[in-house]
Amino acid sequence: MLSDHTVSILIFAGIDVIMALSFYLPASAGQLSAGQGGFMALGAYTAAYLTVQYGVPFPIALAAGGVIGGLVGLAVGFPALRLRGLYLVLVTFGFGEMVRVLFLNAPAFGGPGGFAGIPPATTVWHVLGLLLVLVYFFTRLSGSRMGRAFAALRDDEAAAEAMGVNSTYVKLAAFTAGGVIAGLGGALYAHYTLFIDPEAFGVGRSLFVMLYAVFGGLASFWGAVVGASILSVLPELLRWVKDWREIFYGVLVLVMMLVRPQGLLDPALLARLSLRGERVAARG
C-alpha cells in the first residue's frame, strides 16, 4: 500500500512528534528540559534489552520503556524543583549527557558498539496509535485541573502557589509524564531501527527535540505536532539541494524564528484558528 520509504518517513516523523510532545509537556508547566534524548535512550535500551534478552512481547517491553522513562523523569524532577529557567535547561543537558556516557560504558548494552539484533516490531500503526492517544490526552489535559495548574505555574510560579497550586506535585507530574512519553518514543524507535547506539540519543537529539517544539510554538501542543512534522519531513523536501541541505535547513529555521519568534502557531494564529490552546494570550 505504502512504499517502504514512505513508511520510514512516516514512522520517523511520528517518533519526532512524540518526542516533541515529551518536551512540550514539562515545558507547558514552565519546565524546560534539554535532556529528552536521555529519556528516549532509557526507553529504547530498556525495551530492546527486554525483547532481545528475555523474549518479552513487544507491547510489554514498550510499556516498560515508558515506565523506566517515567521513573527517571520523576528522579530528575526532584533537583528540578530547586532550579528555574536556564539553570534547569543546563542541568537537564547534563543529565542527557550522563545517560549517554553511562550507556557508552555499559558492556551489557553493547557499549560504544551499540545494541544490535532487536526484533522488528514497530509498525506505522503503533506510532499513529500512540499519537492519537497522545492527542486525545493533550486535548483533555488542557481544560483539566492539572492542565490549568501547568499553565499557571508556567506564567507565574508565586501567583500559582498563592492560588493553591501544589508546585512540587505539579512539577514532578510534568517531568514524569514527559519521561513516560519520551521512553515510549525510544522503545518505538529501537524496534524500528533494530540497532541503537548511545550517539543516537546525544545532545543533538535533545536539542532537535527542543527545536521541533519551539519552532512549532509553545502556546499549544499542536505547535509541537506541527513543528516536528514539518521539520522532520523537511530534509526529504530539501533533497534537491544535495549537500547544502543542512545549511538550508539551518537558515530556514533561523529565518522562521526571526519572523515568528513565538513559533509557527503563535497565540495570535491559534486565536484565529480558534484551536483551544491552554492559553491564548501572549506570554513573555
Partner: protein
C-alpha cells in the same frame, strides 16, 4: 606522576576556562544562552588552521583565530540575538543559536570536509624537566597563553571604560542605559571579547590535541556550559576556577579511572555542585533564568 597530571590538567583546564568565560560573559550581560558558542570556538580554530597551513608564525595564527572568531561572534549577535532580544520568549534565542550553530558546522564541512584534520604543531617542541614534572615548550605556550588572556580579561573588565560599560550592563541594562552607557555597544563588545577568547581556546586545544574536526565545538561547548554552571552563572572568576577544576578532574579520571568516563566527569561535578550549592562555586545570584 600526580604532579605531572596536575600540570596536564591545568593546561587543558585553562583552555576550557577560556570557552566557559565566553558563555558566562554573554549570560551575565544578556541572561541568555549562546548555543552556537562552541561553533564560534570551532570556526576560530579553523581560521587558525588556514593561517598555520599558509605558514604563518604561531602568534599570527593565534591572533588571526581571535580576530576571526570575534568578527563571527559579533555577526552571530546581529543575526541570532538582537532581532529576538525583546520579542518571543527566552527559549527563542536558544533555537536561533542552534540554527546558527548548524549552519556554521556545515559551512565548515563544505570548506574543509567532515573528516578530522591534523593541526600542524607551531614548532618542534623541546622538553624540559622541573622536579617531577616534564613540560614541553608547546605545553608551556598553551598554559601561559590561557593564563595571560585571563589576566588580560580581568584587566579589561576592571580598568577600562569598555569593561566598566560591560559590567554595568550586566548589572542592570535599563539603569546602565540611563547612566549614558551605550548598551548595544556594550553587548557587541561582550560578544567580541567572549568570541575572541573562544577563538584563542580553539587554537590552543587544536595544538594540544594536534587536530580538529567540524564537530570539535560540540563537545568543548558542552564542557564550557558545565563549567559556567559550576562557577556560577555570569561569574568570570568562577568560570576560570571551574575550568581549571574540570581540566584537572578530567585528566585525573583518565589517569586513574577509565578514559571513556572522561566526558561524564564534568557533568557529574556540575550536578554535584548544583545539589550542594545551587548558585555555583562563586555565584551569588538566584537561579532564576
Amino acid at each position: 606522576m600526580f604532579a605531572q597530571q596536575l600540570v596536564n590538567g591545568l593546561m587543558l583546564g585553562g583552555a576550557y576556562a577560556l570557552v566557559a568565560i565566553g558563555y558566562t560573559l554573554i549570560f551575565g550581560v544578556l541572561n541568555l544562552l549562546h548555543l552556537a558558542h562552541g561553533e564560534v570556538f570551532m570556526v576560530g580554530a579553523y581560521v587558525g588552521l588556514a593561517l598555520a597551513l599558509a605558514g604563518f608564525s604561531p602568534w599570527v595564527v593565534l591572533a588571526g583565530a581571535m580576530l576571526g572568531a570575534a568578527t563571527l561572534g559579533v555577526l552571530v549577535e546581529r543575526v541570532a540575538f538582537r532581532p529576538v532580544r525583546n520579542r518571543g520568549s527566552h527559549v527563542t534565542p536558544l533555537i536561533t543559536t542552534i540554527a546558527v550553530g548548524l549552519v556554521l558546522q556545515h559551512v565548515v564541512v563544505k570548506i574543509f570536509g567532515a573528516e578530522p584534520v591534523a593541526f600542524p604543531a607551531p614548532f618542534a617542541a623541546a622538553a624540559m624537566t622541573i622536579g617531577p614534572v616534564t613540560l614541553t615548550t608547546l605545553q608551556l605556550l598553551i598554559l601561559g597563553t590561557s593564563l595571560a588572556l585571563m589576566a588580560l580579561l580581568e584587566l579589561v573588565l576592571r580598568a577600562t571604560p569598555t569593561g566598566m560599560a560591560i559590567r554595568a550592563t550586566a548589572e542592570n541594562q535599563t539603569v546602565a542605559g540611563l547612566m549614558g552607557i551605550n548598551v548595544s555597544l556594550a553587548i557587541v563588545a561582550t560578544f567580541a571579547i567572549a568570541s575572541a577568547l573562544a577563538g584563542a581556546a580553539g587554537v590552543l586545544l587544536a595544538w594540544n590535541f594536534t587536530g580538529l574536526s567540524p564537530f570539535f565545538g560540540v563537545k568543548v561547548g558542552l564542557k564550557g556550559l558545565a563549567i559556567m554552571l559550576l562557577g556560577g552563572l555570569g561569574n568570570v572568576t568562577g568560570a576560570m576556577l571551574g575550568g581549571l577544576i574540570v581540566g584537572v578532574v578530567e585528566v585525573m579520571s583518565v589517569a586513574y579511572l577509565a578514559s571513556s568516563y572522561r566526558d561524564a566527569f564534568a557533568f557529574a561535578v556540575m550536578i554535584l555542585i548544583l545539589m550542594l550549592r545551587p548558585t555555583g562555586l562563586l555565584g551569588a545570584r538566584l537561579q532564576t533564568g
